[in-house]
Symmetry: C2
Subunit: 358 residues, 2 copies
């Protein structure tokens, strides 16, 4: 198998152990004589997998009593409407920190009044907007903790007078968080948690049941809480692969340990951008920089070389380096499973290119 450095923004690199264990289970689950994708979701085997996965979530994030962990289909995008369906009675507050935050906000408007508490749209979302003056009469405040496209991240669990709902699709499990400060944490799995095809929802039970509207069964969190996400056939494969990924997180020493390594990776690249390079420039404002998605562009006088450098990274076995079209340039996604070595290889590649071409 050829050596590749996978900097994809999502779906993205996953731990090799999780991939190999999952591939093995697709061939045969244990010694059952059946593939993982041929077993009943009502079987003892799958019940154990589902329970183990829930238990690992609770352990790794130190989730307090009163919260439920759900595994749902449809991705984080489905949560954009499921959330207001379940939580928005009259008014909700949204922080507009990027395209995904804006998409979440748009769906909420179908269900009630939406107030934008802060926005960084004025500078193409290159910083994380300060959240202040949260309206106390809103049902909840929605934030997107990491903005994959722009490489910005909020680095703290904010204090809020109203329940906080957080889309943590792209930084969940990358750093310790205080779950008790959130009413709902959700996201698509396909960055730090597992393959595409499942969304996670960590929800505090006491925020539910307060809206007046009738909620379709599948869109009601209480349906899935009551059945431990097995109301209907769940995405069996994706839950298995997620469980294997969480086992790997635990084996690495948990979220705090991964946070150290993630910081090391990010500092390596940001340091090069800030203190050494004259050719490459970080895209996001320093105080808002993401530890998961590191966006950079070429300085104005080198802009014409961006395509050439892209080809250089490709030749060096790097994939997924191209920046999102709305930012341009480059983006190195440095999720949990990306080894330090990959970032070192990228920095080496940048340094060498700069030496030859500056």
């Amino acid at each position: 198998m050829k050596k590749v450095y996978n900097f994809n923004a999502g779906p993205s690199i996953l731990p090799r152990a999780a991939i190999e264990n999952t591939a093995k289970a697709v061939l045969e689950l244990g010694d059952s004589g059946l593939s993982l994708i041929e077993i009943s979701h009502r079987s003892k085997d799958f019940e154990n997998i589902n329970n183990e996965c829930i238990a690992l979530w609770k352990e790794l994030l130190n989730i307090p009593e009163g919260y439920h962990v759900l595994f749902l289909g449809g991705g984080a995008s489905m949560q954009f409407c499921m959330l207001p369906y379940n939580l928005l009675n009259k008014k909700a507050a949204y922080c507009d920190s990027g395209v995904w935050a804006k998409k979440a906000l748009k769906e909420a408007k179908l269900f009630g009044e939406v107030v934008t508490v802060s926005s960084s749209a004025d500078k193409n979302y290159c910083y994380y907007p300060e959240i202040k003056d949260i309206p106390t009469d809103a049902d909840y405040l929605h934030i997107t903790t990491n903005n994959t496209i722009y490489g910005t991240e909020i680095h703290k669990d904010i204090d809020s007078p109203i329940p906080v709902v957080a889309d943590m699709s792209s930084d969940i499990l990358s750093r310790p968080i205080d779950v008790s400060k959130y009413a709902v944490i959700y996201g698509g799995a396909q960055k730090n948690v597992g393959p595409a095809g499942v969304a996670f929802v960590v929800v505090r039970e006491d925020v539910l049941g307060k809206v007046q509207r009738q909620i379709p069964t599948m869109l009601d969190y209480r349906t899935h809480i009551g059945e431990k996400s097995l109301f209907n056939t769940p995405p069996v494969f994706a839950i298995y692969a997620m469980c294997e990924t969480l086992k790997w997180v635990k084996a690495q020493g948990g979220v705090a340990k991964l946070a150290e390594i993630n910081k090391k990776k990010a500092v390596m690249l940001y340091d090069y951008l800030d203190n050494e390079s004259k050719m490459f420039v970080g895209a996001a404002e320093k105080s808002s920089r993401s530890l998961m998605n590191i966006c950079f562009v070429m300085a104005d006088q080198y802009k014409a070389k961006e395509e050439e450098f892209m080809n250089v990274t490709k030749a060096a076995g790097m994939v997924g380096i191209k920046g999102h079209r709305s930012v341009g340039g480059f983006r190195a996604s440095t999720y949990n499973a990306l080894p330090v070595e990959a970032v070192q290889a990228l920095v080496d590649c940048m340094r060498e290119y700069e030496k030859k071409n500056a």
Copy 2:
């Protein structure tokens, strides 16, 4: 790997070739150096898989122009609310042929008036109710073509003065159908089509855009039509495995050929029940019998032996034979991927048990 006869009702047996090819792709997709679950859904590789899968659907079911094939998360249960969201303006007609039909009907009630055109609830759904007097002022008629729990199936494409919407979760691709007689065909993949984690929707474009309500983006079929199911990150693994399953269907000679084999399997078991056994009795009325889920019980005087026989089948390497609690007895699901040999083994097992115990 030990020999198992997989009679699971769903998730259920899949073609071994599809399983092995998919497991291989989880380890490495082609010679990309990446796992299938690590590639971007915007990559050329995945675009090709998605396009091939759509093309195979169109080819295998001979889908006419004007229809779109969608791959969505959330399962068929999510479609129970998505359908009325998109199609129900004032009134819808539902055929109540079992638990799943009833669940679909219940969700529709949140969106408008619902008329039950026919029901077999009076006899615990042991027959497929005759559909007549379809209200011409309803927006659509909803049917469930195969009732997994009760082992009943409608064996024809009905004529209807209003658009027909069909849940074909458990008999899609098992027999040729005339797609032009349906406005929407949908279902969960996890029987004849692939693993759990993806639902298919075949929708005729001209039935959309006629409702007044605002539809959340992810619940609007038009969102997914416009993006070929890639509006957000799709269930990559499930689509790949589905594509491999469809390739197998094609390699077997297509749906018509599989229908012949499915008939052969069903006749083998039903013949034994009708013409030979005094111990086992078919559960569904003859004219309504499913070719996918064959339900049978023990005759009254042998009822006490059901558990013992269940253990005999287990010892013979059979899984998933237990009937649903609402029917009792036994259920042999004989989906496309189940070999004739498995049904023969079951009939042999029944015959031998009867000989010893009658």
